[in-house]
């Protein structure tokens, strides 16, 4: 007993406790549900068997059926576009803002705080507001574009199959930018100042310092942000519900919304779960990339 106590205070035991408890917790509250979902994708599920693990096993029927549906591939493609588009936009704009506010002019930190508004606003409200902003007829975006002479006629962001997915991407970029910005700001301020001084002495201009010092030093932060951004993007739901409902004609439908639609509008839980398993594969890839990126991290 004393031995155990002492390793918890001084040795590996400390690490094991710190990691063990959260993982047990996570396993129970996130791992089991995930397994439940995976299991469900191989089963026939209806409203009466939701409460149990044991259900008729159907093998990969759900998968076969899913991939027979004509909309499956377009929706998966949409998902990819949505994820890549959103993350790229959020990250680039967020990084730009973080760098901008990093120059630390008076008032910078106040204004930076205001940018967090998108993180605070309830999804329902954000969805509704973007719904109006992106509306074809009375939308404010079209109004500004028209007034500034960028477009002639209105763009029907939500209802034109060409634009509908991008409408959600725009809203989602707005939503995720603040999160990217704030975390990148924290990451930026953790880079030791003397590295910049050294680089400046070495003749690097601002642009070069950014590419050779800032970016590589931020590797772990960036890895974390992109990994988290991916997960948030894959969980984005409110915006689809509020802006396009996946329409028109699935042109803006994505995996997570479709999974919900199948499960909770068409009550086809098996197929809904099947899609969530496919999403898991998506994330598995991203998680692997993230874990790899941590190999090059720099320890303070």
């Amino acid at each position: 007993m004393r031995r155990i106590l002492s390793t918890v205070r001084d040795g590996r035991g400390f690490d094991i406790v710190l990691v063990g408890v959260p993982f047990a917790f996570l396993f129970a509250l996130a791992g089991l549900p995930l397994i439940y979902n995976i299991l469900m994708s191989f089963q026939e599920v209806d409203m009466f068997s939701l409460g149990s693990f044991i259900r008729p096993f159907v093998g990969i029927d759900n998968y076969v059926a899913l991939f027979r549906q004509p909309e499956t591939w377009p929706i998966l493609t949409n998902t990819l576009i949505f994820v890549v588009g959103s993350i790229a936009g959020q990250f680039v704009i967020g990084f730009g803002l973080a760098l901008f506010f990093w120059t630390n002019f008076p008032g910078a930190s106040w204004l930076r705080g205001l940018f967090l508004v998108s993180w605070v606003m309830p999804g329902l409200v954000v969805g509704a507001i973007w719904n109006w902003i992106l509306s074809g007829d009375f939308g404010v975006l079209n109004f500004f574009l028209r007034e500034s002479g960028l477009i002639e006629g209105n763009i029907f962001w939500r209802s034109d199959p060409i634009f509908s997915l991008w409408a959600v991407v725009i809203a989602n970029i707005w939503l995720g930018t603040s999160f990217n910005m704030i975390l990148l700001s924290v990451g930026l301020s953790a880079i030791p100042g003397d590295l910049y001084e050294a680089a400046e002495m070495d003749g690097a201009n601002g642009w070069q310092r950014f590419w050779t010092i800032t970016l590589p030093m931020m590797r772990s932060t960036i890895g974390a942000i992109i990994a988290l951004g991916l997960i948030f993007t894959l969980q984005q739901f409110d915006l689809f519900a509020a802006i396009t409902d996946g329409g028109p004609n699935n042109s803006s439908n994505v995996a997570q919304y479709w999974a919900w639609d199948l499960s909770f509008r068409q009550y086809d839980f098996g197929r809904g779960a099947t899609i969530s398993v496919i999403m898991t594969v998506f994330v598995m890839f991203a998680a692997a990339v993230y874990v790899r990126s941590t190999r090059h991290e720099v320890r303070g």
Partner: protein, 384 residues
Amino acid sequence: EDVKLTLWSLDRDIQPAPNLIKEFNAQKNGIQIEYRQIQFDDVVSEAMRAYSTGKAPDIIAIDNPNHAMFASRDAFLDLTDMIKTSTVIKPENYFPGPLKSATWDEKYYGVPKATNTIALYYNKDLFKAAGLDPNKPPQTWDELVETARKLNDPSENVYGIAFCAKANEEGTFQFLPWAQMGGSTYKTINGEGAVRALSIWKQLMDEKLTSPDTLTRSQWDSTATFNAGNAAMVISGPWEIDRMLTDAKFEWGTALLPVPQEGAQRSSAMGDYNWAIFSNSKHPEEAFKALEFFASKDATMYKDFGQLPARADLPVPPTGNAMKDAALATFLEQMKYAQPRGPSPEWPKISKAIQDAIQAALTGQMEPKAALDQAAEKIKSIEG
């Protein structure tokens, strides 16, 4: 010890359920009801989840097209016998459409709670401005298109008509009456009439007589554009009357839904909820008592809550507001033709097939005929 019942519905504090429960509890007749409000989108999933874990409420208000899904699996209690002996709830008093939606396999699995339907609202001021007779709303589909053309005025940001073709139940709700007027049903959704109906919708879209956002906008939001003067006509339901009275700064009128051609059979959508008792309720008798109490209050439902009772035997008393009374008359008339969606336990999937067809056609990705053929195919395989 009082018997405790739980009741779930989507009614908010200004709507019937919570208020009726308050009244009911105040009677102190040995039954107390606990109320929980659920959101529209969640009613079914919450109910399923609760039912399958044994946590279901005693009473629920369920959207009529979803009723069959529960009834067919005996998740709801068969009320036929209780209704037979009831002095308050008599099937013959109800509109046939709503009653049918609560029926499965010739048995009553619930009682209609309220009902609604859709009709045509139009902006009389704009009619006048376009040189049209404000007392002669369009009667047929062709007239409707023609009128919309005349009213359409892009320079003033006015569309001829607004309706809803959104890819959810609302789209089906708005489209199905058109198909039915054309002589089709959901089982024959690729019938000639339905194809014509969809072609007319497409024409409205193609000619920009209606906003392209019709594809993604809810009925509520579409009607708001009418209220704001940006659409000259709108197809919507009686739930809009009150808002229109405060928001619309013009004179408006209502009309029955236009038909394919003069003399054609009428039809309309049928919305709103039914009461049902879950089959695993421990207190079915008491729960039915509660339903009887609710039914006894149908007479004042419109007055108190602005909802139409599903009752053919109860006159809706005039409110004193001429525009409102006129609209009400239209809706009561339209109500006679209202038909339920389904009933089918697979309704959500059927509805989805129809929405897909509408959207595919209206975005121009498929011809109306082909789209509906595909939907019919799907529906056939769903129904087995």
